[in-house]
Amino acid sequence: MQGEILFLCVTVVTAGFAIAIGVIFPALGQGKACAKALEGIARQPEATGPISRTLFVGLALLESLAIYVLVVSLILLFANPLLKYVFK
């Protein structure tokens, strides 16, 4: 039983750390993208439409990285495929 509990603990801790670390860098990237887009809009207010459209697409592409992490940690927590080998 000890091994199984250890497995669960490691899974939960890994999921938490995965979210914590995996969210930092997409957040930084998104912040940078937003800052640049704002600069661009401030410099050229007439280009607001194209800039914000591109910004949204870019943010979605960046956000999908964080979403991958979320999905992986969700799988680890709730649909871990290895569980059936641990709990026979």
Binding site: R53, F56, V57, E63, L70, A79
Partner: protein, 223 residues
Amino acid sequence: MEFLTTKIYFYLGTLPVTKTVVSTWLVMGALIIASILATRHLKFIPGRWQNILEMFVEGIINMIEDMSPHNGKQLLPLVGALALFIGSANLAGLIPGLKAPTSDFNTTLALALVVFCAVPYYGVKNQGWKNYLKVYITPSPIMAPFHIISEVTRTFSLALRLFGNILGEEIVIAILFILSPLIVPVPMMLFAIFTGVIQAYIFTILTIVYLSAAIEKEDSAEG
């Protein structure tokens, strides 16, 4: 954590009819009935509802033609259906008793697979087999596996992005609901409306990017 398992109502042959499938049917039915009602009396001079309808359709056509000119009418059925379905499916999750069909990975993967199949379909239809397949071996035949990998991964990323966003939103709302069911989830639900619309927009525009890259004689975009 009932929101992470899907209730299976019954089996149709060997295929499970889950809650997601039933919600999809409901959303589909609502969309089709609404569109039949909306297009029943199309007048030459539009009224208010017809104006909104035409604005939506023309907006999608303009969105497509920004990316690939002169293909608006051709891509409109698929792209418009994607936008309408994803948007209303995302918002359906806010209705009590219904489940957002897009918070099920099967739905989003199905949509992404349809896009995945539509890319070569439109590519071949518009520039023929030879020209379409030529894209895969440019700049050299060594790149062919990478092109294929990129197409597969972008399909999965398309599916996962939508799924993860909507599911994450639902989980946040559910957790807030468990903590305090009265007023606290309301701001998050308002934010969920925003996220749902934005995600529908993103899915649509990425689909347009992929399709227009296949139609025009260019290298397909990464995603």
